[in-house]
């Protein structure tokens, strides 16, 4: 374990999130068991008021996850100097097998929290709160996931061992240590480009269609998930190359560095927002048939689709602009 401020901060925030969810889990359980919207009893009133706390808490967890994804990557980037062979964040995350799973878990939690908040949003606009039980059952499912993510993160940090000079044998302590995979694996540029633009086109198309006509809500979610995967693989396999102007540097994180003018944020921000919105649009879709939600779900999901559509369009536009501005030639014209 490396004793370091950013690591302590990350572990602290994860612990607080897990603890908070663990503390309210029994209450969520009580909501599921005793909820009766028809009743005017004091207990029902208390349960209804508790729902506000749950929404606040999940919003808090969402923000915490988003912030900690950033901090996690930043920190991996900075720590890369401590490990022989690690050139950037990818190297650090590869120091032990928990690195990437921890990052992925964080990202997944972010999307799940966004989906939960979307369901929560439509539910709290319907006068009879029709999804209360489902919502809190989902919340109870989310809690162990959060715990697993926190555990993975802790494993990653605990198993980090900096390659530091020791007084006994001095240097070359690291002779035996394996060389780290500093580069992420990537596709060939041409199929990657086809995949990227294809998936972006699909995502933009599906969400615009839903935005305009209100049909195909699940399609938006599927397209958003595809768009996210294609976006990440696109960044890995060719967009990053254009940004670094280097034919073999595939790092998805260095684009966030000041050396590259923080260009990565312009890519990741719309991509993450769009994906979250697209997935959320799909998440509320199953409830379109609920009587009190028939008007609300389409309205909200169209709005979410509009965000997704614009977000994916921005992602594709930003990526294209970066490619056109670059001096690197990957494809013969």
């Amino acid at each position: 374990m490396i004793f370091q401020p950013a690591i302590i901060a990350l572990l602290l925030s994860s612990a607080i999130c897990v603890l908070a969810l663990a503390l309210i889990a029994p209450f969520a359980f009580e909501v599921i068991r005793r909820w009766d919207i028809k009743s005017g009893s004091e207990r029902q009133l208390q349960l209804e008021r508790r729902t506000y706390l749950f929404s606040m808490l999940l919003a808090f967890v969402l923000v915490a996850q988003l912030a900690s994804v950033l901090l996690f990557v930043f920190n991996a980037e900075k720590m890369s100097g401590m490990f022989v062979g690690a050139m950037c964040a990818v190297g650090t995350l590869n120091v032990n097998p928990y690195g990437f799973p921890a990052l992925n878990a964080k990202i997944a939690l972010f999307f799940l929290a966004a989906m939960w908040l979307a369901i929560n949003h439509v539910d709290s606009r319907a006068r009879d709160y029709p999804l209360v039980r489902i919502k809190y059952a989902l919340l109870l499912l989310l809690a162990p996931l959060l715990a697993v993510a926190a555990w993975t993160e802790a494993q990653f940090f605990v198993n980090l061992q900096a390659d530091v000079i020791t007084s006994c044998c001095g240097s070359l302590f690291s002779e035996g240590s394996k060389t780290l995979v500093a580069e992420a694996s990537a596709l060939e540029p041409v199929p990657a480009m086809l995949l990227f633009y294809g998936a972006m086109g699909l995502a933009i198309g599906m969400s615009s269609f839903h935005w305009a006509y209100g049909r195909g809500g699940y399609g938006v979610a599927v397209a958003a998930a595809l768009g996210f995967a294609a976006g990440i693989s696109g960044i890995l396999s060719f967009i990053s190359l254009y940004i670094y102007e280097h034919p073999h540097h595939h790092c998805p994180f260095c684009v966030l560095k000041p050396e590259y003018g923080y260009q990565g944020y312009a890519l990741y921000l719309p991509l993450f927002v769009a994906t979250a919105a697209g997935l959320a649009a799909g998440a509320i879709r199953p409830f379109a048939g609920v009587a009190s939600l028939t008007a609300i779900v389409p309205d909200v999901s169209r709005r979410l689709a509009s965000i997704a559509s614009i977000g994916f369009l921005l992602t594709a536009a930003v990526a294209t602009a970066m490619i056109l501005r670059s001096n690197l030639v990957l494809l013969d014209h």
Partner: protein
């Protein structure tokens, strides 16, 4: 306008000090009329007022507002209905100290997000109507009791509600101010607002402005005329 059917309301439910403030109320409050609830303290007048005004939900029974059943609505929606439909004048006025009269008046409209200019225009009109224009910037704790009540009335009217609910409005006023209040009430009734108030002040309950008096005791209606 508002119909109550089989209303019961309990406090401290399931505990040893459980107590039913209302015990089987059936009442219809007509629109554009002044209705007064009478009765000794502890008779359930104020509790009934909170149910009618969507400040609370009945433990049992139905509340219908213009035909729509609102008894099972969560607080979030009740608040919305309340804001649009009812204005409240409380016994203690309940103004927020430290804020000017004007700021107090526009407070109920904050959650609506209406442009400030429109709000201020409406507030000025109300202040002028109740002869308070010159006190608009005064902090409310510097105002006299009568002035405070008029500010409270302005605040109750800022969202232009159909109904005004007043809880013991004359309890903290001397006879002169109480008469002044009744005059204001008459004006509001004249413009077609539904008014519901509680009082055991004969000045109010015997007033000609009041169209209907409902007598309560022990959480039940004992007389209605």
């Amino acid at each position: 306008m508002i119909e109550l059917a089989g209303i019961r309301k309990a406090f401290n439910q399931g505990q040893h000090n459980e107590y039913w403030a209302l015990n089987g109320i059936d009442l219809a409050i007509e629109a554009n009329k002044v209705t007064a609830l009478r009765g000794p303290s502890g008779s359930g007048k104020t509790t009934l007022l909170t149910l009618v005004g969507c400040l609370a939900r009945p433990t049992e029974g139905r509340v219908r507002l213009k035909g729509e059943d609102i008894s099972g609505l969560p607080e979030r929606f009740l608040t919305d209905i309340r804001r649009r439909t009812f204005g409240f004048v409380f016994q203690q006025f309940n103004l927020i100290k430290g804020l000017s009269a004007l700021d107090n008046i526009i407070l109920p409209a904050y959650p609506t997000g209406e442009p400030r200019r429109e709000l201020l225009e409406r507030a000025e009109a109300l202040l002028a109507r109740l002869n308070l224009g010159h006190r608009r910037e005064a902090k409310v704790e510097w105002l006299s009791g009568g002035e405070q009540q008029r500010v409270a009335i302005c605040r109750a009217l800022i969202n232009d509600p159909e109904a005004l609910i007043a809880d013991e409005p004359t309890a903290n006023l001397d006879t002169h101010l109480a008469k002044e209040f009744m005059a204001i009430l008459e004006g509001l009734a004249g413009e077609g607002r539904t008014i519901l108030l509680t009082s055991h002040d004969p000045l109010v309950t015997e007033s000609a402005v009041v169209d209907r008096g409902v007598e309560m005791r022990d959480g039940q209606i004992v007389d209605d005329r």
